[in-house]
């Protein structure tokens, strides 16, 4: 059995750490044994810790560090990757992009594991067309709450309870997912600016379907809600050649910088964020067609700065990401003005359109809009303002993303995820003794 080390764990937002017994994963057999010998605090699998809140930490529990089980293979013939759960999307991309393939769904960071991508049912800039990550998984293996190993496919209810199930149905040990063919490691990007929030939203509504990838950055400081929409498709070899790119299949993203270890609280404030937003808006042209960008610049701009979460200082930060149906699109503007009202500076405010949701009862995305804002945790009045937004959002049939959530109440969660009861029934068959637990599951009384 591997060494067990009491370790303080937190999410990417660095708020509210707890101490768990951390064990490195080395085989499905060892994981089954850990599950069978779990103490009363339970077991939880953890990947690369990019969930912002408390999803991948579990006070007092045995937390299994899955990143040591990270092998994967590309099967070019049937265009799929079979990976151990701890394999990172970063390593997978380094292997498959030069060979002409790309992951079916890419989050805003590639520093995540395959297991985490399934557990959070991650989405990307192509959700409106391709759905979330779970829709592209063809098979997964999982160790349930009794230590038994299962192979699940999309025909199984247990498969869909695991997709978006935040690690609470079992430990995913491996998975197979489809990959898409690409001609180059570049994206052709069209950019347009919207003068205000209405303008941005109507432009997205009108033309997002014409592109595989699309997202908008919103100036959260300006009361207009102006923004920059970027949309893209994988570039062909001809498009790369026209742009003078020498090696269109090369892919080697590098770290540009590492954030300093000690940043005083308040370094990100209304004024610095205002300056950033102004500059970012002006940096982009009113309209630009066919710009060629590297995959890493288009999908994972922040991955170039290691440990960028430190810039929020010692209080940490939270990301508030919600979804609302089209009919409640007005809540996007209301959320932005509410955050402006309390002086919450967010320099990463992202708006996107979602396509239809999938069969997973706890999957986050469903048709409509999603807005994500990074907020320093120390702002006075933040809790109350977000509670008010939570209530408005869930009343309109919207919800918060569990991979980002770190503060909603259990009552709000139950209201916002009406299929929770259905999910619990399946979970109870997979984990009758309730071995799997996280700080998130305790906070939300899942």
């Amino acid at each position: 059995m591997s060494e067990v080390v009491a370790t303080q764990l937190s999410g990417w937002g660095r708020t509210m750490p707890t101490v768990a017994q951390l064990v490195e994963a080395n085989s499905p057999g060892q994981i089954a044994e850990l599950v069978q010998h779990a103490n009363s605090r339970g077991v939880l699998a953890r990947g690369l810790g990019r969930s912002y809140g408390d999803a991948a930490q579990s006070g007092g529990a045995t937390v299994i560090d899955m990143t040591t089980m990270n092998d994967f293979t590309l099967n070019p013939d049937n265009m799929s990757v079979t990976a151990n759960a701890g394999a990172s999307i970063d390593e997978i991309l380094r292997e498959i992009v030069p060979r002409g393939f790309f992951v079916p769904v890419s989050a805003g960071t590639r520093i995540i594991t395959v297991g985490g991508a399934i557990a959070a049912d991650i989405h990307g800039k192509n959700h409106h067309r391709d759905g979330s990550f779970g829709a592209h998984v063809t098979e997964l293996t999982l160790i349930d709450g009794l230590g038994a190993q299962h192979t699940l496919t999309p025909k199984d209810l247990k498969f869909w309870a695991t997709v978006g199930g935040m690690g609470l149905t079992g430990v995913i040990t491996s998975a197979t997912f489809t990959v898409i063919p690409i001609a180059s490691s570049y994206i052709t990007v069209d950019t347009e600016r919207g003068n205000d929030l209405d303008d941005v939203m109507s432009r997205m509504f009108a033309r997002d379907h014409e592109y595989r990838y699309t997202v908008a950055w919103i100036d959260s400081v300006s009361s207009s809600g102006r923004g920059v929409i970027t949309r893209g498709d994988h570039a062909t070899i001809e498009q790369c050649n026209l742009d003078g790119i020498k090696d269109p299949e090369a892919y080697d993203p590098k770290n540009i910088a590492t954030a300093p270890a000690l940043v005083p609280s308040g370094a990100l404030n209304k004024w610095t964020v205002r300056a950033f937003n102004e500059g970012w808006y002006r940096k982009h042209p009113k309209e630009r067609i066919g710009e060629i960008q590297r995959i890493s610049a288009f999908f994972h701009p922040l991955d170039g700065v290691q440990e960028w979460n430190r810039i929020y200082g010692p209080n940490g930060f939270l990301q508030y990401q919600f979804q609302v149906p089209d009919a409640a699109g007005y809540l996007v503007g209301m959320a932005l003005s509410k955050l402006r009202e309390i002086g919450a500076p967010s320099f990463l405010t992202v708006l996107k359109r979602f396509g239809p949701g999938n069969r997973a009862p706890l999957s986050f995305p469903q048709s409509g809009w999603t807005l994500a804002a990074d907020l320093p945790a120390g702002i006075p009045g933040l809790g109350r303002a977000l509670d008010q937004l939570d209530a408005l959002i869930s009343a309109e049939g919207g919800r918060l993303y569990l991979a980002k959530d770190s503060r909603q109440s259990p009552t709000n969660f139950a209201r916002a995820y009406p299929r929770l009861g259905e999910w619990r029934e399946i979970r109870d068959t997979m984990d009758p003794k309730r071995v799997f637990a996280s700080d998130l599951s305790r906070r939300l009384e899942i």
């Binding site: 303080q8 750490p17 707890t18 605090r41 006070g59 945790a377 809790g383 503060r407 700080d439 906070r443």
Partner: protein
Amino acid sequence: MLDALGDPQSVLVLGGTSEIALATIKEMPRNRLRRVLLAGRPSESLDLAVKQLQALNIAGVEAIEFDAKNTETHGGIIDAAFDGSDIDIVILAFGLLGDQMTAEADPTHAVEIATVNYTGSVSAGLHVARRLKNQGHGALVVLSSVAGDRARRTNFVYGSTKAGLDAFAQGLDAALAGTGAHVLIVRPGFVRTRMTSHLPEAPMTTNPEDVAKIIVTALKKGKSAVYAPGPLRFVMAGLKALPKPIFRKLPN
């Protein structure tokens, strides 16, 4: 569980009628609280405390039976509280001021003060610490007192129990380092409560609500000790440094 903003869902008060503890609960965001346990000897004032919090729409408020002097029952009571759900914050708030002159004349009274304030706290504190360590998070708030900083003629029996409690709590915090749990020692000066209503007020007197605000802020900042009001820290540092002949001449 604490949320990202440091607001708790569950609180256990040992000494459930403590005005400082109740004010501290009222200072927490009410819609976050899911479970508030007020532990104390069954009494009208304990029932009243429960009703008071329920009237504020705080969810899950209940009284549980607890007697600081019955140390052999502490383990079972604290285990039952933690078995129900994780507890984010435990406030160790029971205490007896007693009467100095009675205590000097009748040492059994002094022993009672010592038993409740020191022995009871050591017992309950160790049981709580064991469960906080087990859950990997949580805070134990210990209501100490400036009376423990330097023994005074007029209240040294009480003061000595608080001095012992304070030292115990400091050590317990050290013992919990690295477990995810920690201790917050609160050293109030004169607070206007039932306990002190018969006494003349001292300089820098505060209300339970003032102490509550200091506690909630200190918990969010993860501090290990605070005075209430804050500047008392400097006053007490000065008093501790005073030569004995001058200290003894100070007015009480």
